[in-house]
């Protein structure tokens, strides 16, 4: 896609020995358009283009690749580098149980992902418990309880409790009592601009002291993905990202936006509604997808 568009632009530099800033200008414009069409946030696009400019400037035009192929290769490599890094799993607590805190905007897939993650980690020899601290959304706690039942994973119900902090406290107590080693805390969806709700998230984190705070982001999120992730990271501190609904056809530029502004590793991909439709994030596959 990008390659065929670039090939027209770069026909002009076919005879040239070197990729210079001058002959790259048109090509960089194409890359910018492709990234924006893929929903990568504008500030992240700007930084990325600057990097590509530096990377390709002065490079000799490849003998066996067309200039278009060469630019795409540089863009792809740079994307994979930005999106990836080493494959990272869940950080285990040094002593005591491991606590994972789920956070993100409304409807991004936190509750569903809580179930998926619990299932995955139970297969990795953890003994998980899950708890919902969402006291706002109608039937939110029921939703997690049903998932726990389906997956045969213990759920702290917190019946009679209506304060998220009391619920989390109760879950931590129950975890100790049952000698389980992992707690995943599902939280209510919230806007990063909602001061009260962001303060609540900070309070939950302070109480639960998780080793992982996972930002759950919808792969179809547009330009605001960067700003949202940045604020969650500044306020609460994210340690990892889950990108959901990748079974759709969104280009997924949000992945680059979130990684670009937080530097936090994208650890998992949600690829369906069922609890087993969950896998490790693949940076190379994501790079292909973003470039279209």
């Amino acid at each position: 896609q990008l390659e065929s568009r670039l090939s027209a632009t770069l026909k002009k530099i076919r005879g040239l020995a070197r990729l210079t800033e001058a002959n790259m200008t048109e090509a960089l414009k194409e890359v910018r358009t492709a990234l924006l069409e893929a929903d990568v946030a504008l500030p992240v696009v700007k930084d990325f283009i600057a990097t590509i400019k530096k990377e390709s400037s002065g490079k000799d035009v490849h003998k066996s690749l067309s200039p278009g192929q060469q630019v795409v290769k540089i863009v792809h490599q740079e994307l994979v580098k930005l999106l990836g890094g080493e494959l990272v799993g869940i950080t285990k607590a040094e002593k005591g149980p491991t606590v994972i805190l789920m956070a993100g905007l409304q409807g991004s897939g936190k509750t569903t992902t809580t179930g998926k993650l619990a299932l995955l980690l139970s297969k990795e020899k953890y003994s998980p418990m899950i708890v919902s601290a969402d006291v706002y959304r109608p039937a939110a706690r029921e939703q997690l309880a049903v998932l726990g039942e389906q997956l045969e994973i213990p759920v702290f119900k917190g019946d009679g409790l209506s304060d998220p902090l009391k619920i989390v406290k109760g879950a931590l107590k129950e975890l100790k009592k049952e000698s389980l080693d992992l707690l995943i805390i599902d939280t209510a969806g919230r806007l990063q601009v909602d001061e009260e709700m962001m303060a609540e998230l900070e309070a939950i984190k302070k109480l639960a002291t998780p080793t992982e705070t996972l930002f759950v982001a919808d792969a179809m999120t547009g330009q605001q993905a960067a700003e949202v992730a940045k604020t969650f990271h500044e306020r609460v501190g994210i340690t990892g990202v889950v990108l959901t609904k990748l079974d759709g056809d969104a280009r997924g530029g949000a992945a680059l936006s979130v990684k670009g502004v937080t530097g936090c590793p994208i650890k998992f991909s949600g690829i369906g509604e069922k609890s087993d439709q969950f896998e490790q994030f693949h940076p190379d596959r994501m790079a292909q997808r973003i470039l279209g």
């Binding site: 939703q143 179809m220 330009q223 079974d247």
Partner: protein, 278 residues
């Protein structure tokens, strides 16, 4: 004679960035900036302070769809509204808000809990039903959604309800079998009442980027989408993806969601929306 306003590159870049960051997308942004250039050339705008209002007006033109009087009246009883859209967009919550909206207009509303798949989806709608004070038709989890719809249509007609609102499971438009299921639900409704569903509302998450256009096109290919609901506009996203969508498809935005509470629903106002985009 007024001099032609000069729109310098710096201003153009500033405007382009604002439009892109509002999720308006490259093609529509290009189109809007071109109309700005023409406006300046034809002296439709002559002062720099007229630039933004001019652009807002151009955006308003793109998102305004001529509605006929009969669009707004509910000629048949029950008036059947089918809610569709991708996972997590805000369908169930919007139904709660809509039921309340119509109840406040003195209408008798019945809800159909046809999301029989997702954990606690029926419980979620039932809770909204309690808050609003209306009827609900629901079956056991994992039952056939078509059966729920069939029963809800029967009940809506028999109980002489003014409005029946059908909740459906979230689904990605890339899932052919789920899109087929949706088409089947529509047939079930039409078989009981040939003019129904009278309204098929596609719910779009306001934070979604350019994929929103794919969603509208794909859902509209299978169903006859009569209107859009744009949710979560109380966040930092501007929902600009609808501009290109409405312009291309002619499907109007009917309502917007501006929060999670029962009253957080407004009729779409193209004037307010276009001003807020910039």
């Amino acid at each position: 004679t007024t001099r032609k306003i000069k729109i310098d590159d710096e201003l153009l870049e500033e405007l382009e960035e604002a439009l892109i960051m509002a999720d308006i997308g490259m093609p529509t942004t290009t189109q809007l900036l071109e109309s700005l250039r023409l406006g300046a050339k034809n002296k439709e705008l002559t002062k720099p302070e007229e630039v933004r209002p001019f652009l807002a007006k151009e955006i308003r033109k793109l998102i305004t769809v001529k509605s006929t009087a009969k669009d707004e009246e509910m000629a048949e009883k029950p008036h059947v509204i089918l809610m569709i859209g991708v996972n997590g967009a805000g369908k169930t919550t919007t139904i709660g808000k809509l039921a309340n909206y119509y109840k406040n207009e003195g209408k008798e509303v019945l809800l159909a809990a046809a999301d029989t798949f997702r954990a606690a989806a029926v419980d979620q709608l039932a809770e909204w039903c309690n808050r609003v004070g209306c009827d609900i038709v629901k079956h056991h989890p994992n039952s056939d959604p078509s059966a729920v719809v069939f029963d809800a249509m029967k009940a809506g007609i028999a109980r002489k309800k003014d409005i029946v609102i059908v909740d459906t499971a979230g689904r990605l438009h890339t899932r052919t079998n789920l899109m087929d299921q949706l088409a089947k639900i529509r047939k079930i409704i039409s078989r009981q009442m040939p003019s129904a569903p009278h309204e098929t509302l596609l719910v779009l998450d306001g934070t979604t980027g350019q994929n929103a256009l794919n969603q509208v096109k794909e859902f509209n290919a299978v169903m006859n989408v009569t209107g859009l609901v744009l949710t979560k506009l109380d966040g930092s996203s501007k929902g600009g993806a609808v501009v290109g969508i409405v312009n291309e498809t002619g499907i109007a935005v009917k309502f917007i969601g501006i929060g999670e509470k029962i009253d957080d629903l407004q009729r779409f106002d193209p004037e307010l929306f276009s001003k807020a985009l910039l």
